[in-house]
C-alpha cells in the first residue's frame, strides 16, 4: 500500500512555534508537529497532573479543557492549538482553596488510586458547563468517557451531583 512505502522520518522535521495559554499563563513553545498536547503539557510544561492512561482516547485520564470544552489531550496535536486557552487540573484551585469539584471528590471519597481523578475532574467541569446532565443517569452517560479501574463510579456521580448543586 502506497502509504506504507514512506520513509521512516521526514527529512527536516522543523519545530513549530505555538503559544498555549495554560491555566491563564502564556507559554511559547517550539514544538515538533507530532507532539500531542498531553506530551507538551507533561514533558515540556512539567504539568504532570494530566495523566497518560491508554494514549488512545479510550480512558479519559488525559482530559483537559480547551477553550472551556473537555477533550482528550492524547489525541490532540499541540501545533493545532496555537493561541488556545487550556485548563488542566493544576488550574482548578484558586487562592489556596480547592475548587468545589475537588472538594466534592474528597467529600465523597470519589477515588481510590487517584490516577483517573484529574481527568474525571476536568471532564466533570466540562459536563457542568455544558448543562446537559440533570439526572444521575445523564451524569453516568455523559461521563462514560472517563474510566475508573478502581470502580469509584457511584462516588464520582455523587461528587458531581454535589458540585452541580453548589453551582446552582
Amino acid at each position: 500500500m502506497e502509504s506504507r512505502a514512506r520513509p521512516d522520518t521526514v527529512s527536516k522535521p522543523a519545530a513549530i512555534s505555538v503559544t498555549l495559554y495554560v491555566n491563564g499563563e502564556p507559554s511559547k513553545l517550539a514544538i515538533a508537529p507530532w507532539t500531542t498536547l498531553l506530551d507538551a503539557l507533561r514533558d515540556r510544561l512539567h504539568l504532570t497532573g494530566t495523566k497518560k492512561g491508554c494514549d488512545h482516547g479510550q480512558c479519559g485520564a488525559c482530559t483537559v479543557l480547551i477553550d472551556g470544552r473537555r477533550v482528550n489531550s492524547c489525541l490532540t496535536l499541540a501545533v493545532m492549538k496555537d493561541g488556545a486557552r487550556i485548563t488542566t487540573v493544576e488550574g482548578f484551585a484558586a487562592d489556596g482553596s480547592l475548587h468545589p469539584l475537588q472538594q466534592a471528590f474528597i467529600d465523597h471519597d470519589a477515588f481510590q488510586c487517584g490516577y483517573c481523578t484529574p481527568g474525571q475532574i476536568c471532564s466533570a467541569a466540562g459536563l457542568i458547563a455544558e448543562g446537559k446532565a440533570k439526572t444521575a443517569d445523564e451524569i453516568r452517560e455523559l461521563m462514560s468517557g472517563n474510566i475508573c479501574r478502581c470502580g469509584a463510579y457511584p462516588n464520582i456521580v455523587a461528587a458531581i451531583q454535589q458540585a452541580m448543586g453548589a453551582k446552582t
Partner: protein, 338 residues
C-alpha cells in the same frame, strides 16, 4: 508516533491545492481517529494539512426547507443544535449514542463519515488485512470476528463501518457535498460509502484530493416517529454490535413513509428500498415490522463468532420500529429498552 510535516490550509481552495501538491498528505480536522491510527502505525502520512481553520462551521437552513451542516461542525455541537434537536432528533440521538462527550467535542461532521473500521486486524499491523495492505489477506474471516459484518461482506473483507451518526444520515437520506480540483459535486448518502468487494481499501467514493464541505439534510426530518437503538457490549462508550435507525411518517394507524438503516452489520449503513417499501401503506403492527426486518436482513451470513448478530438485528429492528411508531424513542441516557 511517526514524524510528519504540518501545514495549515486557509480555505477550501487552498486545502485542495495543498493536497494535490502532496499525494502522501492527509487532511486533519478533529483527529480522533487519524491520530489514533498514526499511533498504531496504520496511517503513515508524510504531511498533515490542518483544515480546522476552514469556514465550514455553521448549521444553516436551506432554501429548500432542509438544513446544511458545515463539515467542521463538531459532533457534540451538531447533536445539541436547536434545529437538529427539533427537526432531526434521530440524528441527535444517533450522535449521542456514539463515542464519549470528549470525543464528540473534537470529532467533526465530515470526519465522522471518513472514520475507518475498528476491525481488530485492521488495527494490528502484525496481521494480514486487505483493507490496510491490499492483497495481504483477511485475518477476520477465519479469526476473531465477533464484531464483524454479516451483510454485504466479500471474500476480501468483513469489516464494518463504525459510525452511529452515519446510520441516521442514511435513514434521513442526507447528501454529501464535496469539493475538488474539478469543482463541486453532491453524493447521495447511500452512494457515499462502499461495500468491500475486492477493493476493501476503499471505504467510500470520495476521490483523491476531494474534501467534504457539508452534509445536507432534506426537509423531511421524521421528528414525530423515530428511534435510534444501539446494542453493544457495555452500556455506553462502545461500538455497536447492532444499531437501528427507524423513522416513520404515520397517518392514523397507517405507515405513509418509512426509513430503516442498520449499523454495526456491514461496511456501510445498511438499507434496502424493498424493506421500506414493504412498510409503506401498511397498518402499524409487529407483523409488518417483522416482514421488513426479514427483507432488510435477507442474505445475511454469519461467521464463526458473529452469527448471533442476525437474530439480534431482527429483534432490534422490530423493537426500534415499535418505539418509533409509539413515539417513544430510545433515550441515550437511560439504557432501559422499552
Amino acid at each position: 508516533m511517526i514524524n510528519f510535516e504540518y501545514a495549515r490550509a486557509t480555505d477550501v481552495a487552498d486545502a485542495i491545492r495543498q493536497m494535490a501538491a502532496d499525494p502522501a498528505a492527509k487532511f486533519i480536522a478533529g483527529g480522533t481517529n487519524l491520530i489514533d491510527l498514526m499511533k498504531y502505525d496504520v496511517e503513515r502520512p508524510m504531511r498533515l494539512i490542518d483544515i480546522t481553520h476552514l469556514p465550514l462551521k455553521t448549521v444553516d437552513e436551506t432554501a429548500g426547507g432542509g438544513v446544511r451542516v458545515g463539515a467542521l461542525v463538531p459532533n457534540s455541537d451538531l447533536a445539541y443544535h436547536p434545529l437538529i434537536e427539533k427537526r432531526y432528533p434521530l440524528l441527535s440521538s444517533a450522535i449521542l449514542a456514539g463515542a464519549s462527550q470528549q470525543l464528540r467535542n473534537m470529532a467533526s461532521t465530515g470526519g465522522n463519515l471518513l472514520q475507518r473500521t475498528r476491525c481488530f486486524y485492521f488495527y494490528d499491523v502484525a496481521t494480514p488485512c486487505n483493507k490496510r495492505e491490499p492483497g495481504s489477506g483477511c485475518s477476520a474471516i477465519n479469526g476473531i470476528n465477533r464484531i464483524n459484518a454479516v451483510l454485504g461482506t466479500s471474500e476480501s473483507c468483513i469489516a464494518t463501518h463504525p459510525s452511529d451518526m452515519c446510520v441516521a444520515l442514511a435513514a434521513l437520506e442526507a447528501k454529501v457535498h464535496v469539493a475538488g480540483a474539478a469543482g463541486e459535486r453532491t453524493i447521495a448518502f447511500d452512494d457515499f460509502h462502499r461495500l468491500p468487494g475486492d477493493t476493501p481499501q476503499l471505504d467510500n467514493n470520495l476521490q483523491p484530493n476531494e474534501i467534504i464541505t457539508a452534509i445536507e439534510l432534506p426537509a423531511r426530518g421524521f421528528a414525530d416517529n423515530y428511534s435510534y437503538l444501539k446494542i453493544r457490549d457495555r452500556l455506553s462508550y462502545a461500538f455497536a454490535l447492532v444499531s437501528v435507525a427507524a423513522a416513520l411518517e404515520l397517518d392514523g394507524g397507517r405507515i405513509k413513509e418509512a426509513r430503516l438503516a442498520l449499523g454495526g452489520v456491514a461496511h456501510k449503513p445498511w438499507r434496502r428500498p424493498e424493506a421500506e417499501a414493504a412498510l409503506r401503506d401498511q397498518a402499524v403492527n409487529s407483523n409488518a415490522f417483522a416482514k421488513a426486518a426479514d427483507i432488510l436482513l435477507g442474505g445475511a451470513k454469519g461467521f464463526a463468532h458473529n452469527a448471533f448478530k442476525i437474530d439480534l438485528a431482527r429483534r432490534a429492528i422490530i423493537r426500534t420500529l415499535t418505539q418509533a411508531a409509539n413515539g417513544t424513542p430510545q433515550t441515550q441516557s437511560s439504557k432501559k429498552i422499552r
